[in-house]
C-alpha cells in the first residue's frame, strides 16, 4: 500500500451519495470496508452496464466509484446478529462514513453516540442532502434536486435567443454528490489531523446543500455586495450583465473556447503571424490594429468586428483541436470542448499515466478509466484492486476481525 492513509480502517455504509468519499480515501491507501445489504448497494443498479447486461457486478458507475474497497454483506437492517457484527466492525475502525437519512442509523443503534462509547477516537461522518437538522432535513433529494437548491442550475443554461424557453440546466456526472464527498473528505481529514495531535475523535455532519452553497463562484458575492442575481448565458459564466461569447465552432463542427484574441500585444503578434502565415487577416498589419483597446469586442470598434470575422473564417478552415493547440502554443489559454471519452485520445494524459487499467465481470481484457486527481511524490495514488463483487470479502473481513 503506497498511499498516505495506509493506517486507516474505514467502514462505509454508502450508496450513490456518499460512495465517492470512500473511493477518495481508499485510492489513497485506506482499508475501506463497504458494508452492503444482501441485495447490494442501490448504486450497483445504476448503468451503464458491461455490454448493457444488468447485474450487481456489471455496473460501470459502481466500478468507478468503488475502487480499492472490500465488500461485506450484512443484513444489518433486519438481522440482530448482523447488526452486532456491523457494530463490532465499526468500533474496530478509525472512521465510519454513511449516507443514510438522518436518524436511520440511530434507530439501529449504530449512530455516533452509541459507537463512540466503545471506541474512543472514532471519527464518524454522515453525508446527507441537507444535514442532520433543520426544516428540510427529511426532504428527499437527488443529484439534480440538490444542484437546483444549491444554486448551480440557476447559473447554468442559455441566453433566450440560443434556446427560447430553455430551463436552467444540470451538468452531468453526479457533481452534486461529488461536491458533497469532497467536503466530507476535507472534514474527515481535518478531524484526522486533530486526532493525530490529541487522540480525540468526533462527529461530522456533512450537508450536500451546504457544500454546494459554497460552490457557485461569483453567485454569492454579487448578492452579498450588489443585491443582484447573476443571469445564465450560453457556454459561459453567469454574470450580472451580458458578456461577450467564448464559444466558436471549428471547421469540424467541434467547439473551442476563446477568451479574447490577442488581448496583449505580445500574444496579438503571435496570433497575427499565425493567421497571416495561412493567408488570413492581411489587414492586421494596419496600424489601427496596434492599439489593444481597438481589439476588444466589448468596445464595439470596427477593428474588433473585423478580427472576429477573420476568426470565424480561420476557425472554419481548421479543426477544433488544431485551433486549441495552435492557440495554446501561442500563449492563449484556449480550450476545446471534448466529450469525456475524447480525453482518452490526448497523449499528454498518457505521458502522465493518468488513465489506469481496470477489469471486471464480463470483460476478457483490461480497460482504461481515469486515475489520480493528484500526484503525491512520496505516497502516490494507487489502484490496488478493482471495485469489489457483492460480498466478495465477507468471510475474509469477518475472519480477520475475529467476528463469527
Amino acid at each position: 500500500v503506497t498511499g498516505p492513509l495506509a493506517d486507516l480502517r474505514v467502514i462505509e455504509i454508502c450508496d450513490e451519495l456518499g460512495q465517492y468519499a470512500g473511493k477518495l480515501l481508499a485510492d489513497m491507501g485506506a482499508d475501506v470496508v463497504k458494508v452492503e445489504p444482501p441485495g447490494g448497494s442501490t448504486a450497483r443498479a445504476i448503468g451503464p452496464f458491461v455490454r448493457d447486461i444488468a447485474g450487481p457486478n456489471r455496473s460501470l458507475d459502481f466500478w468507478y466509484h468503488n475502487t480499492n474497497k472490500r465488500s461485506v454483506v450484512l443484513d444489518f437492517e433486519h438481522d440482530d446478529g448482523d447488526r452486532e457484527r456491523l457494530r463490532k466492525l465499526a468500533v474496530s475502525a478509525d472512521l465510519v462514513i454513511e449516507d443514510r437519512a438522518p436518524g436511520a442509523l440511530k434507530a439501529l443503534g449504530l449512530d455516533y453516540e452509541a459507537l463512540d462509547r466503545d471506541r474512543k477516537g472514532l471519527i464518524h461522518c454522515s453525508i446527507t442532502p441537507f444535514g442532520q437538522d433543520g426544516p428540510w432535513a427529511q426532504f428527499r433529494s437527488s443529484d439534480m434536486v440538490s444542484l437546483a437548491l444549491g444554486g448551480q442550475m440557476n447559473m447554468n443554461g442559455y441566453n433566450e435567443e440560443d434556446a427560447p424557453g430553455a430551463p436552467p440546466i444540470r451538468g452531468h456526472g453526479d457533481q452534486g454528490y461529488k461536491t458533497a464527498c469532497h467536503f466530507a473528505v476535507m472534514g474527515i481529514l481535518a478531524a484526522l489531523l486533530h486526532r493525530d495531535r490529541t487522540g480525540e475523535g468526533q462527529y461530522i455532519d456533512c450537508s450536500m446543500h451546504e457544500a454546494l452553497n459554497s460552490t457557485t463562484e461569483v453567485g454569492l458575492p454579487y448578492w452579498f455586495y450588489k443585491r443582484e442575481n447573476v443571469i445564465r448565458q450560453t457556454t459561459r459564466h453567469a454574470a450580472a450583465r451580458k458578456t461577450e461569447r467564448w464559444r466558436y465552432a471549428g471547421g469540424d463542427g467541434k467547439d473551442v473556447l476563446v477568451y479574447g484574441v490577442g488581448r496583449d500585444n505580445a500574444s496579438w503578434k503571435k496570433i497575427k503571424e499565425w493567421f497571416q502565415s495561412e493567408g488570413f487577416g492581411k489587414q492586421f498589419d494596419e496600424t489601427r490594429f496596434d492599439d489593444p483597446r481597438n481589439r476588444q469586442p466589448a468596445r464595439g470598434s470596427p477593428e474588433a468586428g473585423e478580427i472576429l470575422a477573420e476568426v470565424g473564417r480561420f476557425f472554419a478552415a481548421h479543426s477544433a483541436e488544431e485551433i486549441y493547440r495552435g492557440g495554446q502554443e501561442r500563449g492563449q489559454a484556449w480550450g476545446v470542448i471534448r466529450s469525456p471519452d475524447e480525453t482518452l485520445a490526448d497523449p499528454h494524459w498518457h505521458d502522465r499515466g493518468f488513465f489506469v487499467p481496470t477489469r471486471g465481470e464480463g470483460l476478457a481484457d483490461d480497460v482504461l478509466m481515469p486515475g489520480a486527481p493528484y500526484v503525491l511524490s512520496a505516497t502516490p495514488w494507487e489502484l490496488r484492486r478493482p471495485a469489489p463483487k457483492l460480498g466478495e470479502h465477507t468471510a475474509e473481513v469477518l475472519g480477520e476481525s475475529g467476528i463469527g
Partner: protein, 410 residues
C-alpha cells in the same frame, strides 16, 4: 473552541480562484495562511467585481473577500535579495507551500521542490496547474472554463441539438481547490506518521476528468461516446434511465422547479400530489419504460401543472407527498428565502476595514468538536507584513525598518 489545523502554517503563493480555494479551506479549519503578495503583480482577483466603490483599489473587492477570508497578507519583493532571504526564512517556518502558477514559474525563482527541501526538509509543496508539471503539454495554461471544456464537464451540460450550456461558473476552480486541500491534508497526515514531506503535482484538468469516470468507462467498455444524437440529455437522466426527470416552469419570471422521479412508487406519489389528473392515469405512464418512451408528452403535462403553481409551494407539496423536488434557487433566494440555511445558522458576517460589515457563507462540513470558524475578513494587501516579520520570523523593529527602506517589502 480548538481548530483542527491549529499550528499548521501555510506559505501561500496562490492567486485567482483555484489556489485560493484550497487555502480558504485550510484557513477555515484553522491553519495560519500567509499570502505572499507583491503590489506590482497583485492577484487579479483583488480587482475582481463585485467591488464596493467606483474603482478597484486592490482592497475593495467583494470577490476577493469571498475567497480569502481568514488569511494574512504580507508584501515581499522576491526579486530583491533581502526579500528573497526573508521569503526563504518564511518557507523554513512553513509546513506547507502552495502555488497555482503556470508550470515552471516557481522553479524560475529558484524555489522548485528540490530547493524548498533544502530550506525545509519536511515541507509539503503543492502545485496546482492546468496540465501538471510533467507531460508534453505541461506549458499549456487554463482558466476554470478551459479545464471544464477539456475534461468533458462542459460537453455533458446542455440540451441535445444545442451548444453546450456550461457550467455557468468555474466549477473546476472550486473543485481543483478542494482536491488540493485534500491532497495537502493527506500529506500532512503522512508527515505526522513518518516525518516525511513531499511534492503534490495537481493538474486541474485531471481533477476534472476524474469526475467523469462512468462516461469514460462507457467508451472503453461499450465503445459509446457521449458525442452522439440525443446527447447530452439536458435535465433528463443518462443513467439510471428514469422519467420524469426535468426542471419545470412555475409562476413568475424565470422560476423553475426540478422534479426527479426515480421509480414507480415515486411516480404514484407524484400522481397523488397532482390530484390524479386523468392524463396521468394513462397506462402508457404506469411503467418507467412507458414514461421514458413518452417523455416529451410527460414533461409537457407536468409543466402544465407546475406553471400554475408558486415554485416554493410546489416543492413543499411534492416533498410532503414523498417526491424529490427542489426550487432552482437564485443566489438571492438562497440568502433571503432558503429556510434550511437560515435555520442551520449558515450565514455569517465579518468586519472588513474598507468593505464594512460583509456577509459570508459558513464552513462545511460541521465538525462537532473542532468546527471551522470565520475569524477575520480577507486581508488588505500587506496588512500583516510587520506582524509576520516580527512574530513568525523574529525580526526586531529596526530590522523591519531596514527591510522596508531597502525595498524588500513591496
Amino acid at each position: 473552541m480548538a481548530l483542527p489545523l491549529e499550528g499548521i502554517r501555510v506559505c501561500d503563493f496562490t492567486w485567482v480562484i483555484a489556489g485560493p480555494t484550497a487555502t480558504r479551506v485550510l484557513a477555515d479549519f484553522g491553519a495560519e495562511v500567509i499570502r505572499v503578495e507583491h503590489e506590482q503583480a497583485a492577484d487579479s482577483i483583488r480587482l475582481g467585481r463585485p467591488i464596493v466603490g467606483d474603482q478597484p483599489t486592490l482592497n475593495n473587492s467583494g470577490f476577493f473577500n469571498y475567497f480569502n477570508r481568514n488569511k494574512k497578507s504580507i508584501l515581499l519583493n522576491a526579486r530583491h535579495p533581502d526579500g528573497m532571504e526573508l521569503l526563504k526564512r518564511l518557507i523554513a517556518k512553513s509546513d506547507v507551500v502552495v502555488e497555482n502558477f503556470s508550470c515552471g514559474v516557481l522553479e524560475s525563482w529558484g524555489l522548485g521542490y528540490e530547493e524548498l527541501k533544502e530550506i525545509r526538509p519536511d515541507v509539503i509543496y503543492c502545485s496546482i496547474s492546468g496540465f501538471g508539471h510533467t507531460g508534453r503539454d505541461r506549458a499549456f495554461t487554463t482558466w476554470g472554463p478551459t479545464a471544464q471544456a477539456l475534461s468533458g464537464l462542459t460537453f455533458t451540460s446542455g440540451l441535445p441539438g444545442k451548444p453546450p450550456a456550461g457550467w455557468g461558473f468555474s466549477y473546476m476552480d472550486h473543485t481543483a481547490g478542494y482536491s488540493g486541500a485534500i491532497a495537502i491534508m493527506m500529506a500532512l497526515h503522512h508527515r505526522n506518521r513518518t516525518g516525511e514531506g513531499q511534492h503534490i503535482d495537481m493538474s486541474q484538468v485531471e481533477a476534472g476528468i476524474a469526475l467523469m469516470g462512468p462516461a469514460v468507462l462507457d467508451a472503453t467498455v461499450n465503445g459509446r461516446s457521449w458525442r452522439r444524437d440525443g446527447m447530452p440529455p439536458g435535465n433528463r437522466t443518462w443513467q439510471p434511465a428514469v422519467a420524469p426527470h426535468n426542471a419545470y416552469a412555475c409562476v413568475g419570471e424565470d422560476r423553475w422547479i426540478a422534479i426527479a422521479v426515480m421509480n414507480d412508487a415515486e411516480w404514484q406519489a407524484l400522481v397523488r400530489a397532482m390530484e390524479e389528473p386523468e392524463w396521468a392515469l394513462d397506462r402508457r405512464f404506469a411503467t418507467n419504460e412507458g414514461r421514458l418512451a413518452n417523455q416529451d408528452e410527460l414533461d409537457t403535462r407536468i409543466e402544465e401543472w407546475t406553471s400554475e403553481l408558486d415554485d416554493y409551494e410546489a416543492m413543499e407539496l411534492l416533498q410532503a407527498a414523498g417526491v424529490r423536488a427542489g426550487v432552482c434557487q437564485k443566489p438571492g433566494d438562497r440568502f433571503e428565502r432558503d429556510p434550511q440555511s437560515r435555520a442551520r445558522g449558515w450565514w455569517h458576517t465579518l468586519m472588513h476595514p474598507e468593505l464594512g460589515e460583509c456577509e459570508h457563507d459558513g464552513v462545511a462540513p460541521r465538525l462537532s468538536k473542532t468546527p471551522g470558524q470565520l475569524r477575520m475578513a480577507s486581508p488588505l494587501i500587506g496588512q500583516h507584513t510587520h506582524d509576520v516579520l516580527r512574530e513568525v520570523l523574529g525580526l526586531s523593529a529596526s530590522e523591519i525598518d531596514d527591510a522596508q527602506a531597502s525595498g524588500a517589502l513591496m
